[in-house]
């Protein structure tokens, strides 16, 4: 029983670190290549896919990081 409880309460530290690193790298790339990124992303027309897909991609990566971060801090929904 106690092992089961431990397994349930195990905090997703590794997942948080993994998604955190990917997210941080992506943000670092974005801020160090501002010129290229803003230029490409605002060409309009079919280039509209860039900002939309980037927003989706960041919401998955950074969203997963945020979710795991809250779990690691012990902030979870009421059961």
């Amino acid at each position: 029983m106690s092992t089961q409880n431990k397994a349930i309460k195990k905090k997703p530290v590794m997942a948080m670190l993994l998604f955190g690193c990917v997210s941080l790298t992506a943000y670092f790339y974005l801020m160090t290549h501002q010129g290229l990124v803003t230029e490409t992303f605002t060409k309009g027309g079919w280039y509209a896919a860039f900002p939309i897909l980037a927003a989706f991609a960041f919401s998955f990566i950074h969203g997963a990081f945020a979710s795991n971060l809250l779990s690691v801090f012990g902030i979870e929904a009421k059961k």
Binding site: Y27, M31, Q34, T42, A48, I52, A55, G63
Partner: protein, 445 residues
């Protein structure tokens, strides 16, 4: 059920395609994007290279512009002055991408965090402060609107997913609302265009502000009164009288919303959706009518209504973002920086709802709506003077009203953040205490 969902999806996709084919969306069409390559100070002319074209056009500066306003080799947006009496006169120039030092980055992340918290908790919000906040930092209006729109849909998607996991989202209601809201957006845009053409910019500003203030004050007071009554009566929400009466109207097709526990005619949901869309197109916060509409007209609880609004916000945000992105106006740096804070905030707000009672959501919603109404109300005298219905204001009065307007937004955001945090922590402490007590009781029993 499956057939209804398929039907709604098909309708929605065809609407999306029809709207993009017409390209009559909200982004301004008379903007030129490109670079200034040369300035002739004596002749007050500039050489402009339009994006995607290598030919240079000569533009004249209008009388109010200084040569120093022209920055070479930076991507700019140019609006031509149509009333100059001759062609190719520049009316307005703004640099598309401002520099982002660390202080501005920090500011965007914090605003995103609080906006997300609000969005996750009451289903909407944040947008009313994001756009002015970005403009305060120096972003041109169109870029601020586009970047805010593009951050809204992933945030709403994550929030909706979280609240779906807590069993609070009525997807069918969300889809029905979103389809009708998209129609409302189109109606709202056409109305805005009509007002702009008839009464000009000042008239349009006055119209937007009056709608803002009237809707927020009326709906805010209704929600506040309801929350007050509920808090006195122990916080147990009942379906309102209006919603109960409307549920008795039997005009087919009748729709059953299982999560919201409501069976109502489709035709009752239409005006709520359309009004949500119209308000979204007019004042950028459709949720301020969508959530109370779902509560008082359709009969959903505040918990389900605020969660379902996130689905509506996601679909409408997607629709708007595609249109703004096609116009090439999204500053992805600002979008993603705000998103970095708001993705944490929205999840925190969403889980916060599991610790509070229905009336707490209403208290937060009413407070935000009424403070935001003050913010916009402060702008009304200026706009009344612009259209000639009042004597022109003294510059000091204008400056004071502008600062009241800006600070009211900050107060709205800060007080909402404070209230949500307070109720969430209170709920968590209570939940832990109850958990401990039940463990003790089990051990003793």
């Amino acid at each position: 059920m499956k057939r209804t969902v398929t039907l709604i999806f098909t309708l929605m996709l065809s609407l999306l395609m029809a709207a993009s084919a017409m390209a009559g969306g909200p982004p301004p069409k008379d903007l030129l994007k490109g670079y200034f390559t040369e300035v002739n100070e004596a002749a007050r002319t500039v050489q402009f290279e339009k994006e995607g074209s290598e030919t240079l056009t000569t533009f004249h500066l209008n009388q109010e512009m200084a040569v120093e306003d022209i920055k070479l080799n930076k991507k700019v947006m140019v609006t031509l002055d149509k009333h100059a009496g001759r062609p190719n006169v520049i009316g307005d120039v703004s640099i598309m991408f401002m520099d982002l030092p660390l202080s501005k980055i920090g500011y965007l992340i914090i605003i995103g965090l609080i906006g997300g918290l609000l969005s996750g908790f009451i289903g909407s919000g944040g947008a009313f402060v994001m756009t002015p906040a970005m403009m305060t930092l120096g972003a041109p209006g169109a870029i601020a609107v586009a970047s805010n729109m593009c951050h809204k849909f992933p945030k709403a998607m994550v929030g909706a997913f979280k609240r779906y996991k807590y069993g609070q989202v009525d997807i069918k209601l969300g889809l029905v609302m979103a389809v009708t809201a998209i129609i409302g957006v189109e109606v709202g845009i056409q109305m805005q265009k009509y007002i702009l053409n008839t009464w000009g910019n000042a008239g349009s500003n006055l119209y937007v502000s009056l709608v803002f203030v009237c809707v927020l004050v009326v709906v805010g007071l209704i929600v506040a009164r309801d929350a007050y009554k509920l808090s006195k009566g122990g916080g147990e929400a009942k379906t309102g009288k209006l919603a109960l009466a409307l549920m008795k109207i039997n005009i087919p097709p009748m729709m059953e919303f299982k999560v919201a526990k409501v069976r109502i005619s489709f035709w009752i949901t239409v005006p709520i959706g359309v009004l949500t869309g119209m308000l979204a197109a007019t004042i950028a916060v459709g949720g301020f009518i969508g959530v109370p509409g779902m509560i008082y007209v359709i009969g959903a609880s505040a918990m389900v209504a605020s969660a379902t609004e996130l689905v509506v916000a996601f679909i409408m945000g997607c629709y708007g973002s595609v249109q703004w992105a096609i116009s090439g106006l999204v500053d992805i740096r600002m979008t993603l920086l705000i998103l970095s804070g708001s993705l944490i905030g929205v999840q925190l707000g969403a889980l916060g709802t599991t610790y509070v009672k229905d009336h707490i959501i209403k208290i937060v919603m009413a407070s935000v709506m009424l403070i935001v109404a003050v913010s916009r109300g402060a702008k009304v005298p200026g706009y009344l003077a612009d259209v000639g219905l009042m004597n022109p204001l003294e510059p000091q009065v204008t400056a004071m009203l502008n600062s009241v307007s800006f600070w009211a937004l900050i107060v709205a955001l800060a007080s909402a953040g404070g209230l949500i945090t307070f109720f969430m922590i209170k709920g968590m402490i209570q939940a832990r205490r109850e958990e401990k007590q039940s463990v003790l009781e089990t051990a003793h029993g």
